[in-house]
């Protein structure tokens, strides 16, 4: 997600930097957790800690996103709203469809693992941004 890139408006430098840094931190935490979980005993405290490792970076990411939206002007906020209004229900649809397919025995490659679903979760957001920008430009 990229609040602040729509326009010639001048986002604060710190928040712009955060939008590059925070996703990297989150992805690093996610893959560190994945790698670590495979090497510890399932159900252990260490496994629990590793499984929850990406949560704080993701919370930071959400905070940065909300702060970014608050720094936007009203049209940019409208565009974000329209994009999220498209992306959020589609993300839910993808998530529960993957769950149902899994239950139905269609496990897919990697059991519908999150990294394989990410593009499907992010794509509607980018499509929504593109459609909304086109509508207002």
């Amino acid at each position: 997600m990229n609040p602040g890139t729509l326009s010639d408006s001048k986002p604060r430098r710190s928040s712009s930097a955060a939008f590059f840094v925070v996703p990297v931190v989150f992805v690093a935490a996610y893959f560190a957790a994945r790698a670590g979980i495979e090497s510890v005993e399932p159900g252990s405290i260490a496994a629990l800690g590793l499984a929850l490792l990406p949560v704080p970076p993701f919370a930071w990411l959400i905070w940065c996103f909300v702060r970014g939206i608050r720094g936007m002007d009203e049209l940019e906020r409208r565009i974000q709203l329209e994009a999220l209004a498209l992306a959020f229900p589609i993300a839910l649809l993808v998530a529960f469809s993957a769950g149902l397919l899994d239950l139905a025995g269609f496990h897919g490659e990697g059991n519908w693992d999150l990294p394989r679903l990410w593009p499907l979760l992010l794509l509607p957001y980018w499509i929504g941004i593109a459609l909304a920008r086109r509508r207002y430009s």
Binding site: L6, S7, D8, S9, D73, E74, L75, E76, R78, R133, R135, Y136, S137
Partner: protein
């Protein structure tokens, strides 16, 4: 009924007022604290500004808000007025 439900849109004189001051869209955007795309969208009628932004625009051009923004004509407005006793 349709006149109430339909969003009629707003006409504005933003482009004219801006031209009178020889401002670019970017200049106006800077004065208003919004993006150039927002100014463009308002000028072209693709986006109706919020009331605070509309007041800010009117204040910037030292006009009354109704001198800058006017409601677009409603389709069927004449028929609706005929129904009103």
């Amino acid at each position: 009924m349709s006149a109430i439900i339909d969003t009629p849109g707003v006409n504005n004189r933003l482009r004219v007022l801006r031209a009178e001051r020889n401002w670019s869209q970017a200049d106006l955007a800077e004065h208003l604290g919004v993006s150039r795309q927002t100014v463009n969208a308002v000028e072209t009628g693709k986006y109706d500004p919020s009331l605070p932004l509309a007041f800010k625009i009117a204040r910037l051009f030292e006009r009354r808000i109704e001198d800058v923004f006017q409601p677009a004509p409603l389709d069927g407005a004449l028929d609706a007025s005929k129904e009103t006793p």
